[in-house]
Symmetry: C2
Subunit: 208 residues, 2 copies
């Protein structure tokens, strides 16, 4: 049912998330068209989709490249996250939405017990996705989804360090507890502190 262009975009998104395609890598239309057995024109449409999600950058007449976040971009991304996530948590949200946050915390706990670093990362993303979902806005959800997708792009370096996520589980648990207890202001403060620390870590890893 999904169009071919969509499936091509999905495949590329997957390869981006898996780290098969690394930042700054060049994507040549003809080779991808051949590899996936589709027309060059279709690849083009897929590129347009990915470009609109900032996963890929178009350099006119030069080609498209896997996006790479520079120091300024890291701060920018975290600014967006602070604005959206903190506002969302301040709003409280429906019981089901809060339950989704709790579920993400549990998912993380399970992944940690299984020593599944990969799962730990996605659980964390689910957690922050659930935080934004508190606001109950379709548009905010898609914005957040895009930001998270953008972040996955340069998380691979960081993921190498298994200790990168160390401690964030406790943070999430604490934030979730405050949220459930209705201590929204406290939850917001904790979340903000977490984001600041996370940005700092990212800046270190990507620092030069």
């Amino acid at each position: 049912m999904p169009s071919v262009a969509d499936r091509v975009a999905d495949e590329l998104r997957l390869q981006l998330a898996e780290g098969i395609l690394l930042p700054r890598a060049r994507l040549t239309e003809s080779t991808i068209a051949e590899d996936l057995g589709v027309s060059r024109n279709t690849v083009r449409e897929a590129f347009a989709e990915l470009a609109s999600e900032r996963l890929v950058v178009r350099h006119p007449n030069r080609g498209v490249f896997v996006a790479s976040l520079e120091p300024g971009d890291i701060h920018d991304v975290y600014t967006v996250r602070r604005v959206i996530e903190v506002s969302a948590i301040r709003g409280g949200g429906s019981p089901e939405a809060v339950a989704a946050v709790r579920a993400a915390v549990e998912e993380g706990r399970l992944a940690a017990a299984a020593n599944d670093d990969e799962g730990l990362g996605t659980a964390n993303q689910h957690f922050h996705k659930a935080i934004v979902a508190l606001a109950g806005s379709r548009r905010l959800n898609t914005i957040m989804a895009q930001v998270l997708a953008e972040m996955r792009l340069f998380f691979h370096k960081a993921t190498m360090d298994a200790h990168f996520y160390s401690g964030y589980l406790k943070d999430n648990e604490e934030i979730c507890a405050a949220l459930e207890a209705g201590e929204l202001e406290r939850a917001a403060e904790l979340l903000l502190a977490y984001l600041d620390r996370s940005e700092e870590k990212q800046a270190e890893v990507h620092g030069e």
Copy 2:
């Protein structure tokens, strides 16, 4: 220097903003290609661009239509605005950014003096764009730009009523003054109240 697809997208964006293309109108690839003297394929790429901005909706195998906001969308858009604008103003911002807000207020005052309803509307958009710019985030700016573009789509109905904007000038002036005085919390409250009232008005106009 801009690509043909970009120029087609620009032209369509213009026609959307001008109200030449009304919500729910159908955009047929072949006619647009003919009208603008470009290939159908190029029109397709332009469509992809507009669809990513939510100005246009793709119904698979049925065509693309000018987006039309439904009651739920109106609330959703204002939720995004509340989250982003209020957060931005709470952050304060650089003196130049504050000056830009003031400039937008003046722009509105001039338009009002000239009885220029059209100008009044764009001045208001500049005002809110400047508010978001306080946060100094490229991503937040583009998000806000898209939201405003989305709103222009269904503002045409409202613009008929010249009194629709009545009073908002004073609001902006007051918000700006509070911002300049460093009374950020008060500015945020005023802005929030304005957005709530604005949403209510929109819901009335589009209500059924």
